[in-house]
């Protein structure tokens, strides 16, 4: 596949793909290393928490989102990295056995003022679960090369 450049991206462009099955083993492994709170690790404590059972660390869901973007989008684009993101929302808990689907809509595409060889793309991204419920939202910011 030939690479996409900044000029190839338009406001309103929609990208959808999936799906990623979330296993309990992965949830526990991530939480042990990065987010060892009881509702991510301990079945009994999680059942008694406001979540009623083990849920994925929100940062694990963020990592899964990144992996889905790398596998399906990033490698096909003349990307220059990202300065960060805005308005990340953990809307619903992600639980073992959930299947996540990715949906992204471009909301802004503008050339960099300081670097004419670069453009900035902002997108509203959602993850949905197998019941089509939104579980995760984030506004991504990506920098891309302009067409040489």
């Amino acid at each position: 596949m030939s690479k996409l450049y900044f000029e190839d991206i338009k406001i309103g462009d929609k990208t959808e793909f999936g799906s990623k099955l979330v296993t309990k083993e992965e949830i526990l492994e991530f939480a042990e290393e990065f987010d060892p709170q009881p509702f991510h690790l301990d079945e009994e404590a999680a059942t008694n928490s406001i979540y009623g059972g083990i849920i994925a660390s929100g940062w694990h869901t963020g990592g899964m989102l990144m992996r889905m973007m790398v596998d399906n989008m990033v490698n096909h684009r003349a990307g220059l990295g990202s300065p960060g993101f805005d308005d990340l929302r953990w809307i619903r808990p992600v639980r073992p056995g959930d299947r996540l689907r990715f949906e992204s809509t471009v909301i802004e595409a503008r050339k960099s003022k300081s670097r004419p060889d670069m453009g900035i793309i902002r997108a509203q991204v959602y993850l949905y679960n197998q019941n089509d419920e939104k579980v995760f939202a984030v506004k991504t910011i990506g920098m891309m090369k302009t067409r040489p």
């Binding site: 290393e33 990592g63 960060g84």
Partner: protein, 156 residues
């Protein structure tokens, strides 16, 4: 145990001492962010980052671990609704040692859940030389101190 009441606006916290190894950077990136400049030494050397750097999501996850050890396990934490803004200011490289400075920016009580409160924090991740690596404005949900719930409601 710290409750919502203990996180007053202006409260400052400093915590964490996490040394990042190349092995950890590659292991995280192979799972979640397998771009060449995170997993492939040779490709990373040729890249404009000039050497392997940690995935930004890995830096955020390491910040989370420092937050958990730094204050969340000692608090009645109920998770988080989200992150208002996160910025990766500089790449994080193997061998760097990270720490966090946090400050309470704001807090609020939702009408629907009398037993919970929200606390908005600024978190800044620095390396051992004081270079700013990541900034994050995010919120946490904390249980109210059981004995204080009625008192506060009476004052509202």
């Amino acid at each position: 145990m710290k409750y919502w009441e203990d996180f007053e606006v202006g409260t400052q916290l400093e915590f964490g001492k996490k040394t990042v190894t190349e092995e950890e950077i590659i292991r995280y990136a192979e799972k979640f962010d397998p771009q060449p400049f995170h997993i492939d030494k040779e490709a990373a050397a040729e890249h404009y980052y000039r050497g392997i750097i940690a995935s930004g999501w890995h830096t955020a996850a390491m910040c989370m671990r420092m937050m958990v050890d730094g204050y969340l396990l000692d608090a009645a934490s109920n998770g988080s609704p989200g992150v208002e803004e996160l910025r990766w200011k500089q790449p994080v490289r193997p061998g760097e040692t990270l720490h966090v400075k946090a400050e309470v920016l704001d807090r609020s009580l939702p009408k629907s859940r009398p037993e919970l409160g929200f606390v908005k924090f600024s978190h800044k991740v620095f390396n051992q030389d004081g270079d700013l690596k990541m900034t994050m404005v995010s919120s946490g949900m904390f249980s109210r101190r059981p004995s204080d719930i009625k008192t506060l409601e009476a004052n509202q």
